[in-house]
């Protein structure tokens, strides 16, 4: 398939799929799935660690060996203060000014807290971060994030890990129309390749997912499926779909039809 390069956060990428590194059945499957996804950006996180060499260190060795761009997240944070501290730690540890800003406001559906997210954005943008904000499909929150300095938006398709797809395509379309020049990534809620295609056909610039691949029966195969889906959805969007019609219209020429009027 034709691969079209694009730019986000000062980087030129070829894949429009961002992939998470969590929840895989094993580190080996994680590695194979990331490779199969053709993603150039992988999300990572920071957690408290003991002094003994643990699974975290082995994980980080694998990710480094893949040579991909990392997008650290602030998962688990509930306040702007916590998210700012994690973002700064991530910048030092991972050597990137990219941060997936995630400030959770509700434990049940892991909905982001818009007030704390905007507050953290203001500080992080001033500190030179490229903020990838995890947000809902709320247009007004999206506007506030852009006003706060975000040059990228990451609305959810559905709550994290739900696999429900795009629960509010109308709102996602409104965000696309309101911000034609802001890269938009669907972050969270994608469950199947068809969900990713639907998002790309709305004109979204990319997809960030984790559970959909990691929790599939065959994660490596699913990663490959998503690589194709994201590319197909983008090409479909760029090609421009035909107008939907309320009536049937034959695609095969009607001139010269044999056995005319002989059909019952």
């Amino acid at each position: 398939m034709k691969t079209l390069s694009w730019k986000i956060g000062g980087e030129t990428l070829h894949s429009r799929l961002f992939i998470g590194s969590a929840l895989y059945p094993s580190p080996a499957i994680m590695e194979q799935a990331i490779i199969a996804s053709k993603a150039e950006v992988v999300t990572v996180s920071l957690r408290r660690q003991g002094t003994e060499q643990g699974a975290g260190e082995h994980f980080w060795e694998i990710i480094r060996s893949l040579g991909l761009k990392v997008l650290p997240n602030t998962a688990g944070c509930h306040t702007a203060k916590e998210a700012i501290a994690i973002a700064k730690m991530a910048r030092e540890v991972f050597g990137t000014h990219w941060i997936k800003l995630e400030v959770i406001g509700d434990q049940y559906n892991l909905q982001p807290d818009p007030y704390e997210t905007v507050e953290a954005t203001k500080v992080l943008v001033k500190e030179g971060f490229e903020v990838f904000p995890y947000t809902t499909d709320d247009l007004v929150v999206a506007k506030k994030l852009v006003d706060a300095g975000c040059q990228i938006l990451m609305p959810w398709g559905a709550p994290i890990g739900s696999g429900k797809g795009l629960i509010n395509p109308y709102n996602l379309q409104a965000i696309r129309q309101a911000f034609p020049n802001i890269p938009l990534i669907i972050d969270a809620g994608i469950g199947k390749p068809s969900h990713a295609i639907a998002a790309m056909e709305l004109g979204y610039d990319g997809i960030l997912l984790n559970s959909a691949v990691a929790l599939a029966q065959e994660p490596v195969m699913m990663a490959e499926a998503f690589a194709g889906a994201v590319e197909a959805g983008r090409l479909g969007y760029e090609a421009g779909a035909m107008q939907e019609r309320e009536f049937a219209s034959p695609s095969t020429p009607t001139v010269g039809v044999p056995f005319w009027h002989q059909n019952p």
Binding site: G20, S21, A22, L23, Y24, M30, T43, V44, S45, L46, R47, R48, Q49, G50, T51, Q53, G56, E57, F59, W60, I63, P72, N73, A75, K81, E82, I84, A85, I86, K88, M89, A90, E92, V93, F94, I160, G161, N210, S211
Partner: protein, 67 residues
């Protein structure tokens, strides 16, 4: 001695211990570490000068899987 919390666990440290000294004492050899005291990030360049105080909450974080 001072009483502090390190990654949620109560610990005792000598008075005037710096972050660098604490990491050595606790045998943190991983170079991929981020440190925060009381939810404020402390950069590596400040580890030698930053003295840990009574009651400080210290977080020592390292890379892990994330979505």
């Amino acid at each position: 001695m001072i009483q502090v919390t390190i990654n949620g666990e109560p610990k005792q440290l000598q008075k005037n211990t710096t972050i660098s000294e604490m990491l050595t004492q606790l045998d943190y050899q991983n170079e991929w570490l981020g440190v925060a005291i009381n939810t404020t990030f402390i950069s590596k360049t400040a580890h030698d000068q930053t003295i840990i105080k009574e009651g400080d909450h210290i977080d020592i974080l390292s890379p892990i899987q994330g979505g």
